[in-house]
């Protein structure tokens, strides 16, 4: 079965700084990759997803992620973060053989003024 590793449990950054949240996956077949975000006291919602085609995927709120097959990674980036980006970010993977999805443990992004 597929699995996901998020290398950083917590990432503190200052406002307007760039940020990268790391995600590595493991699967024996082709995959679909997702980033979900959970803002404080809110439910999870999709940030962006990679299905096929261009390896650079753009999502909501200025976030983007790049699929790197050789490194089995799908890191999330934003060039300049805002206080409102403070949230928990989850990387997830599903593969073409089955429809279940596996989530990483999450990365808590805290943006400081």
């Amino acid at each position: 079965a597929q699995s996901v590793t998020q290398l950083d449990s917590q990432v503190p950054v200052f406002e307007e700084a760039p940020v990268e949240l790391r995600c590595n996956y493991s699967s024996s077949v082709s995959v679909y990759l997702f980033w979900y975000v959970q803002y404080p006291n809110q439910g999870l919602q999709l940030l962006l997803k990679y299905l096929s085609g261009s390896t650079l995927v753009k999502g909501i709120n200025g976030f983007e992620a790049e699929f790197n097959k050789s490194q089995t990674s799908f890191h999330l980036r934003k060039p300049s973060v805002h206080i409102s980006d403070t949230a928990e970010y989850f990387c997830a993977v599903s593969d073409l053989n089955n429809n279940d999805m596996r989530f990483g443990a999450g990365t808590r992004l805290t943006v400081k003024p």
Binding site: A1, Q6, Y32, F34, Y36, G43, L44, Q45, L46, K49, L51, F90, S94, D95, L96, N98, N99, D100, M101, R102, F103, G104, A105, G106
Partner: protein, 114 residues
Amino acid sequence: GAGVSQSPSNKVTEKGKDVELRCDPISGHTALYWYRQRLGQGLEFLIYFQGNSAPDKSGLPSDRFSAERTGESVSTLTIQRTQQEDSAVYLCASSLSTAQETQYFGPGTRLLVL
């Protein structure tokens, strides 16, 4: 309704009691997932339903946990003889049939076992 709904929103129970958590997916979504999120931790996959196929129960932590789904509608997660370590937020999500589809999450049920 427009989204995934879950009930109850909060549940407090005594150790040893059974609890039932309910999930109403988005109409037309054939896939339904249950996850557990302990305080300060990530999402733990519990069980997955896809149409009329046998569910993927590989994530259920013990035989005290079970889930059912009626066709492509409501699902119930049952925890028997609850333990304090069962305290968590239980999240339900639904999606269209294929693996590439976005999952839509419900607000969760916060379970506290005393």
